[in-house]
């Protein structure tokens, strides 16, 4: 069963004090109440006395893993939702950050984030790599029971309907790149959208350029997307864009039995191959 937010918050505060006592960390990254917004925001805790600032609420939407990359030579502690822990495992598998520099406080049986559609079809309710845990672990049977009959977004639509759906959705896109910035596994220093040699994305905004931006962004995602829904949560226009990455997430699972960030040792989807890979729809 999923744990309650209050229970997790209480345990987090206890464990945070423990982590400060046992490790010489630079900071502990977790969720706290925003001073002005009143919302749940990422907070960096420097001292053990600050541990009581830690909370976990149903609006703890930001993905914390990306913040860690900025301070990666230092020992850092982080509160990780299961999806965050997968992003971290993915970083480690790519050699982006060292496991030795991380103290991970994982949230077992994550109760999910309000308004995030990805949480309804979440297949990872326990963190994959942890040093400390809070909450009770969710058993595989429970997870399977919850996922019973759950369909991923737009799975039932026909391609023509989806085309219309995306045309409508992406007509609202202003290319603010919030989806890219919020994504935990979208961390290149030099992004294709800002590149002008070659110029992947032309200047100016129009409906078809918005569509191109999203298609190209999605094409960077197979084998990386951990299906956390952060892109959609960050979008100021409320555009439904997760269905594209989610589709590729499920296809990679079907075709190659590959799920990103499941283990720090696995290789990435595109840096590996099997000679017996299937060739769906190839010309013979």
């Amino acid at each position: 069963m999923a744990n309650s937010y209050n229970e997790i918050t209480r345990e987090l505060q206890e464990i945070a004090a423990e982590v400060f006592a046992e490790h010489d960390i630079k900071h502990l990254l977790g969720f706290g109440r925003g001073e002005f917004s009143g919302l749940t925001e990422p907070v960096f805790l420097k001292k053990p006395e600050e541990a009581e600032r830690l909370i976990f609420q149903d609006d703890a939407a930001p993905m914390l893993s990306k913040y860690l990359l900025k301070y990666k030579p230092d020992l850092q502690a982080v509160v990780a939702k299961p999806c965050d822990s997968r992003a971290l495992a993915y970083y480690i598998s790519e050699g982006k950050i060292s496991r030795d520099n991380l103290v991970i406080i994982g949230i077992n049986g994550c109760p999910g984030i309000a308004g995030n559609t990805a949480c309804d079809e979440c297949d990872t309710r326990n963190p994959v790599i942890v040093d400390y845990t809070v909450g009770e672990e969710m058993s595989q049977e429970e997870l399977e029971a919850e996922l019973e009959g759950v369909k991923y977004l737009l799975e039932d639509m026909s391609p023509a309907e989806r085309k219309e759906h995306y045309s409508r959705e992406f007509s609202r896109c202003t290319q603010c790149y919030a989806c890219r910035d919020a994504c935990p596994v979208c961390y290149c220093d030099h992004c294709y959208v800002e590149s002008n040699q070659p110029e992947w994305l032309e200047e100016g905004s129009s409906a078809d350029k918005d569509m191109i931006f999203h298609l190209m962004r999605t094409m960077h995602m197979p084998g990386r997307c951990v299906n956390c829904g952060a892109c959609e949560m960050a979008c100021p226009e409320g555009i439904e864009m997760r269905s594209m990455t989610t589709h590729l997430y499920h296809r990679a699972k079907e075709l190659y039995n590959y799920r990103p960030g499941i283990s720090p040792e696995q290789s990435t989807l595109f840096s590996d191959f099997d000679k017996e890979d299937s060739e769906p729809g190839f010309l013979q």
């Binding site: 219309e164 084998g223 840096s271």
Partner: protein, 167 residues
């Protein structure tokens, strides 16, 4: 008025698909060469782009080609196991499968996206493949763009007037 007339003219014209063919230098480009030097006839709808290996094919190039008005795409490389760079086409295979899945999911007809293997000795097969690809693309008609409402795009670009349109 002028644009309406232009559109009508364009519709009347027979559909002559434009297909961008990304051919790998070591096998498929040589196959195209062989087809040419063997005097084999095949439709002239393909525009060849020579790439060092299918593994070099950035998926974004395919999206870009479609965006720039290509009606179809053909990517051809060495047969699995025969890659000049040992395993470039194995990587390409995964990448292209994912790209194909994404584009088909978002409404691009599968007939437009063609991926195949063609060795340097298969000139005849190359001509056949091109014929097949042209048939496939012709069966789905001209490419209308990634969006289902071309009006949305037309409206935003209405500011640009072509030279001589008022004359």
């Amino acid at each position: 008025m002028a644009t309406a007339r232009k559109e009508k003219q364009e519709q009347q014209k027979e559909f002559d698909p434009k297909i961008i063919a990304f051919l790998c230098n070591w096998c498929s480009y040589a196959a195209a060469d062989l087809a040419g030097s063997s005097r084999l006839q095949y439709p002239s709808n393909i525009r060849t782009i020579r790439i060092p290996c299918t593994g070099r094919l950035n998926p974004l190039l395919v999206i870009k080609a479609l965006n720039k008005g290509a009606d179809g795409i053909l990517v051809s490389g060495c047969h699995p196991g025969d890659c000049h760079y040992i395993d470039g086409n194995y990587y390409a295979r995964r990448r292209f499968t994912m790209l194909k899945d994404l584009l088909e999911f978002s409404g691009v007809e599968p007939e437009r996206l063609n991926f195949t293997w063609c060795s340097a000795a298969e000139g005849r097969r190359f001509a056949e493949i091109v014929r097949k690809v042209v048939d496939r693309v012709e069966s789905v008609g001209p490419w209308q763009g990634f969006l289902s409402e071309p009006d949305v795009v037309a409206e935003k670009e209405a500011g640009e007037i072509e030279d001589g349109e008022f004359l």
